[in-house]
Symmetry: C2
Subunit: 334 residues, 2 copies
Amino acid sequence: MSDIVTLAHGSGGKLSHELVLDVFVSRFSDGEPDGLEDAAILRLPPGRPALTTDSYVIQPRFFPGGDIGKLAVCGTVNDLSMRGAVPLYLTAGFVLEEGLPLGDLRRIAASMAATAREAGVRVVAGDTKVVERGAADGVFINTAGLGVVADDIHISARNARPGDAILVSGAMGDHGLSIMTRREGLAFESPLMSDCAPLHDIVAALLAACPVHVLRDPTRGGLATALNELASASSVGIEVEDASIPVHDPVRAASELLGLDPLYVANEGKFIAIVPGDCADDALAALRRHPLGREAAVIGRVVEDHPGRVTLRTLLGTHRLLDMLAGEQLPRIC
Amino acid sequence: MSDIVTLAHGSGGKLSHELVLDVFVSRFSDGEPDGLEDAAILRLPPGRPALTTDSYVIQPRFFPGGDIGKLAVCGTVNDLSMRGAVPLYLTAGFVLEEGLPLGDLRRIAASMAATAREAGVRVVAGDTKVVERGAADGVFINTAGLGVVADDIHISARNARPGDAILVSGAMGDHGLSIMTRREGLAFESPLMSDCAPLHDIVAALLAACPVHVLRDPTRGGLATALNELASASSVGIEVEDASIPVHDPVRAASELLGLDPLYVANEGKFIAIVPGDCADDALAALRRHPLGREAAVIGRVVEDHPGRVTLRTLLGTHRLLDMLAGEQLPRIC
């Protein structure tokens, strides 16, 4: 077998089979020999099925704190978690560029398998396409995720109510700034790390502690864009306080250097939770007890005023409009 | 809004939202306003869930008989059908190259929506990423499909048994040869058309007529490769007769001109069915009653001899080994 991906690996013939068996089935199958069926037949526990998908095109494909494979599992697991679903199954579709080192692909597949185990999900179906040199950039991955929502859980972007408290599970901007400093070749005393992580477990801890109205992971467009989406979907106003939003010092420093605002930068292991105001303390305590939530904070509240808009109370005590991301800040951040 | 895809369309910010609402939600949502949730929450009828995925990178993106959008729905619907599942829901992930005409994207989305309606499935979740010029080739689509298999249906690549009859639902090679002649700029008196079509309905008709053991759509690698996969998965021998395999005359002519064998060329609207020998007549009649099965044929049988291997009885009466596709014949055929 050659040590790079060739067009024959995408032919559907002998080399395709060898690639799928060598790279994927060996790592994903858990002894289930269904790798060559057209579709996987599954069992689902009681509840409502939840389905989602995301494609991953991040550049570079290996970065501090993760790689495109880990990201492709976390991102889709987290999208399920954001509806309160227990993630159960993933599909994985690969578009590979001719010439990709097979070693890179094996490393990515191993990372996906390890992250899937951590998240309690199984990769049950996959597909591999190969395009000629120059028609893609190394590797693109799509994952779709299937989970189940318990019947008593009703979480939606439309459920924020005036009086609700707004929390974040940790510091903002780590993923985006770690990728950007890596791309720009910047070095810092404390190296920046992506926060890429599966959120199923900390979400379960939060759901056990209080009746959550809204969950949202602030990925592309960052916290500011996600809050705008929620204000718009729920037809409510949102007020957040700059001083309450956790941002790590190296992220702040890198942001200033690169001219970026950490509130508009992607996160891949954090989420926004909107809960009834009288549950804010319980929610905060539940988040802080979890290893992924030690820096959780209450950052603001939902109001009746200015529906669809988000305001930020600055360190000087003034208020300014916090708008959605306009234009493009960080291509291929996820 | 500009008339081409820009990096800002992939930012997650304002332009991303406008693109998703303009191009996708308006065509896919059926009035359901869940386009901005992180995951779709669904209902499934009784039975076992079936899950599959495929990515589509076909070049050119518009071709006689279809386009990449129609293909992305048919291919995944058909993978569900090949397990006997009723297809219900799709996800759609797009990787777009900066500079793609938005008109092309709208046309592709409209084609997906029309094909989804025809196949009785709903596109319930989606994602759009944009990469810089030269980092992809126009548009790549991934679809994942979720369906349900009735409890009394058990179809698997492993279920072929000696004595079973092997049928195909129609002529072989139309899709692959139509793409190749289009790429090569060849013109024929009768223009070649892709057979791209959703197979859910003809499969339902077949399942009502007889107890099917195996279904497989011979896509990449064609009939020969698919038969080898089935012989191997079921540990049986397969014997087919060249004279019984329907191939349209223009496909045969184009194959000779291009040096291709239609038995190794992709189909996107045909399938292999393996059924108990005493059901062959009922199965054939059921297929031929359906508009997509008028040219269905019994092409061979499952034997105990040479397990894992496929033999072809030629027009001269000799037998030769019909191997899997080796090497790459037709890059980016789907």
